[in-house]
Point group: C2
Chain length 324, copies 2
């Protein structure tokens, strides 16, 4: 069994061994730019941790680990274009550094590249693995579309929001774990348990993200706080607030979330004041804890020594405390 640090080193080693450049340069340079030392690489880490948990050979799942991160980065590349986001991981986004057409086509090539990696290593479970990957890929598109649809709607419910983040964020973490376990020929009950673990971690992760955007320390979180409020974004916090607000508060929130003042600070302050009145922070923390507990229960259901699950426990802690 490897420790979390050893698994992280494996991820780094595997990525460092790949050269994402190719011809024509205008197609592959943005891919190499996006994948080079990019981000936390949580998904490949989870995938390899799952293979290792069941005593599998990491060399069998190494290309799937690269494939799942390549796919994830393809979705970010296209999302950044669709959202017109200028910065990703402290670097200019591809559509700005190059141009929108390059972002479209390089993203398409990255989606295909992810499949190339998945197909690189034959395995008895490969058909099942590819089926999970295609289903998950499609769910992520559905999640992104729901997210865009919700921007145009004022009647989004909490269950709808949770389903959206399940599709947009949670299923890829869950699939990474399940796929990793399938490379180790884990029994179905265990791969299902690991999938549930990933879904709950993913939901908790996204609610933590919503929370940090409103209450996080800019320095630790690495993003400006209050941007969701500034951008009138529907988050768990807002939907929970709307659900528990009285008529006056609901009207206040509706007014605030339809305004875009030049200086957003007073608006952010007012919204946070209402959130405080309604104890939104505490309510969200409670919901995160529930998902976290559900995740741990799923992990506990797998009949393996506790110490072998240590890397996944640690990874969960890091993710949900967001020190990673």
């Amino acid at each position: 069994m490897l420790t979390l640090d050893q698994l992280s080193l494996k991820v780094k080693e595997y990525f460092d061994a790949e050269d994402f450049h190719g011809t024509p340069a205008n197609l592959f340079d943005p891919i190499a730019y996006t994948l080079a030392d990019g981000g936390k690489r949580i998904r490949p880490l989870m995938l390899l941790a799952a293979t290792d948990l069941f005593g599998g050979d990491l060399r069998q799942s190494r290309y799937a680990a690269i494939g799942i991160e390549t796919f994830h980065n393809f979705t970010l590349l296209h999302d950044d274009l669709m959202d017109q986001s200028p910065i990703r991981r402290g670097k200019t986004t591809v559509y700005l550094k190059w141009n929108p057409n390059t972002a479209i086509l390089s993203g398409d090539a990255m989606n295909i590249l992810a499949w190339q990696y998945f197909l690189k290593q034959p395995h008895p479970n490969l058909h099942q693995i590819l089926n999970i990957f295609q289903q998950t890929s499609m769910e992520i598109c559905q999640g992104q579309q729901y997210d865009m649809d919700f921007e145009q709607r004022n009647d989004v419910t909490i269950p709808e929001y949770l389903e959206m983040i399940r599709l947009k964020t949670a299923v890829l973490l869950a699939a990474a774990l399940k796929i990793g376990a399938l490379y180790a020929n884990a029994p179905q009950a265990d791969t299902d348990a690991l999938y549930d673990f990933g879904i709950n971690i993913g939901l908790a992760f996204q609610l933590r993200d919503d929370l940090l955007d409103a209450y996080g320390d800019t320095q630790t979180f690495g993003k400006q706080t209050g941007t969701d409020i500034k951008d009138n974004k529907k988050t768990y916090l807002l939907l929970k607030a709307l659900q528990t607000a009285d008529t006056a508060q609901r009207q206040q929130l509706a007014d605030l979330f339809s305004s875009t003042p030049a200086d957003p600070q007073p608006k952010i302050k007012q919204v946070l004041a209402i959130y405080d009145q309604l104890q939104i922070k505490q309510q969200t923390e409670t919901q995160i804890a529930l998902y976290h507990e559900a995740a741990i229960r799923s992990l506990d259901s797998i009949d393996l020594p506790q110490e072998s699950k240590q890397p996944l426990h640690q990874l969960t802690q890091k993710l949900l405390n967001r020190n990673i």
Copy 2:
């Protein structure tokens, strides 16, 4: 063995049996819009014809046939956005009927949907089939990038142009044929011959397209003639003309192809006059005939009764005479 008409009916039957709608509607409506009664469906027709040629069961390759057409339409959807083309097959393109973000995301979903179809039917050759599909998909992205790169360059050579159209157009026809044959467990020499047949047909097809744009009858061709000249597009005709022109003619062409007059008709006339002086039409016809002959030689190399190859011969005729 089925006739070409019977194979066409199979394609229609298979597509009519699919429902491309789904939720969220904003993701799947553009997919259904694009795939419903869309185009000539040459690639699935070739795929099924290849399966049938080797006595295979069409029910085994039916989903691959849908998958390859889904992939092709995904590339058109994104190309139309990148090229800002308003019309496709007489209908408003997706990015205009909906919006650019919808075109990006629905296109992404179509790319994934193509994989879903390929994965639907287990087959002993599936891994090989998927490998051909991923390689071909990537080559098409490379071809599209070369095409965009060439717009910015004034020193494109004929071999570079031929390589670009091989990637952008020919490989998908070739892959369709090879994949169809693999579903019938055809021997490797034959699947390779069929691939070569497809490459040569594809090259001939694209040169015919270049020729028709300049010389075609608007009514039969279904497009305005002279648009490539109007848009200063580098085609085989232009590159051949530049290759064979004297200094004065080369200068004239350079001047004409850097102008965009409000009324393009005089410019089109002048360019065609130079083409006529240089016998570009005849030279291109000769090149098309060479590719056509090479294609037929590849088809002839397959040791099967001539009559069984009838559908592929007829399809080639229709494609290259463009009555289909």
